[in-house]
Amino acid sequence: MATHGKKQDNRSPADWWLFVLGFVLFAAVGFWATPAILYAEKPQPFQFSHKLHMEQVGEGCQSCHAFREDGSYTGIPSLEKCKECHGEEPMGETPEEKVFSKDYVAKNKPIPWQVYSKQPPCVFFSHAAHVANAGLECASCHGDHGDTEKLRTYEYNRLTGYSRDIWGWSLIPLDGPPKRMKMDDCAKCHRDNGVRDACFVCHK
């Protein structure tokens, strides 16, 4: 033990600097390089302002994202829903809307949105249970998505193909709206509120 302690005392400042350098280097690899390699970006078909639309519609989120009669949820609205207000002529001045009118409304083509919250096929999620039954606000899981002026970059995992929002761990909420779509987030909320967290509640 004594000789071991003596050896430690012999470390020079250069040794410590080498340790700090190595630590910083590997931390950088972990926090920056790994996600850069693991996740790829996909562009949205065109930009969309939730903020602008929220100012135009009367019933908030429900104006476009609504329940069907059988209790299922429409999710991202279909082109038909957009066409209730939008015609083939743009309503505003933005170049984004021109793309929307020309490429999608005029051609009657569904918009291939990249969905941040799209879950893998083995996951069952019920909007009815959370919104209609538990009375949760949309923002509790989707964050301030409804107030944003721009769609943030969609990232997906190169290995699984799933959105970055829904798989992995929420270690540090670094960028953008809160990513509250991971299994740990679901499980934590269920546990905190005493809701059943058996596997079969959410997995199919």
Binding site: F67, D70, G71, S72, P120, P121, C122, F124, S126, A128, A129, A132, N133, R196, A198, C199, F200, H203, K204
Partner: protein, 263 residues
């Protein structure tokens, strides 16, 4: 009886005397639950049928031969008198569990490690191992149901009483504010049966048909003496049919006391 402890207990009453053995239930089940077709479906050791129709006969020579058919879904055992659900108690990965709220035994293929203890433990051969990845032929993946996830090679799967239909019915109940009715949640096999041999509902709910049907003097369950306390009842007026539901000695009388997990 442990079943009375649960709020609901979904189960079936299958009238063996009405079953013609047509197999419509099996087909409906496969289609509903994305059970694939393997290159060699004649290999019955390795093919997958969540709801399999078994044929039995009375062993008499012609012209006294009689046959009967037993549609066999997962029996959703509760276990009585200190016994437990056979598959749940052996699963090392908690991939299968009995939900006390609905009485349904779940199976989570994404959690399954493929050890097949549950396959060995199940007295009803209701569990199936995926020996192969299902080769969905070109275009055949299009009619897959989005409500049930397809499974991969190396995991176990089984009947779930169409649990996704329960969740759909629950969604409707949440948004409409009305309680879930008996007909809101019915399994695919029940709907498909052309002779109405399968009745499905909450065994604990006096308003559901199964609650009354299971009390029939002709009602019995498979291998009741194992105390698995299954949720699937069968009904037959023919004694030789009832006799084959359990391992009776040749001279032994049919023991009605066994029904309901009694003595």
């Amino acid at each position: 009886m442990s079943s009375s402890a649960s709020e609901m207990r979904f189960g079936m009453v299958i009238d063996v005397d009405k079953c013609t053995g047509c197999g419509a239930c099996s087909v409906a089940c496969m289609s509903e639950n994305n059970v694939g077709v393997l290159p060699d479906e004649t290999d019955k050791i390795r093919s997958i049928t969540w709801l399999r129709v078994y044929q039995i006969d009375n062993g008499q020579p012609y012209p006294n031969t009689q046959i009967a058919f037993f549609p066999r879904p997962c029996q959703h055992c509760a276990g009585s008198q200190g016994h437990h659900t056979p598959c749940v108690s052996v699963c090392p990965a908690t991939a299968t569990d009995r939900d006390p709220k609905t009485g349904i035994v779940s199976q989570i293929p994404t959690r399954c490690i493929g050890c097949r203890y549950c396959v060995a433990a199940c007295p009803y051969h209701a569990r199936y191992f995926n020996w192969y990845d299902v080769p969905w032929p070109e275009g055949m993946d299009k009619p897959l149901s989005p409500f049930v996830a397809p499974r991969m090679r190396g995991v176990v799967e089984k009947c779930t009483f169409c649990f996704h239909r329960y969740q759909r019915a629950q969604n409707k109940a949440f948004t409409s504010g009305e309680a879930m009715g008996e007909m809101d949640y019915q399994t695919a096999c029940t709907e498909a049966c052309p002779s109405g041999a399968i009745t499905f509902g909450d065994l604990n709910n006096p308003e559901h048909k199964v609650h009354e049907l299971k009390k029939s003097p002709y009602a019995f369950r498979l291998l009741e003496r194992l105390h698995t306390d299954t949720a699937v009842y069968y009904v037959s007026a023919r004694e030789w049919v009832r006799r084959q539901a359990d391992n009776y000695l040749s001279g032994e009388k049919l023991a009605k006391v066994q029904a309901g997990g009694g003595h």
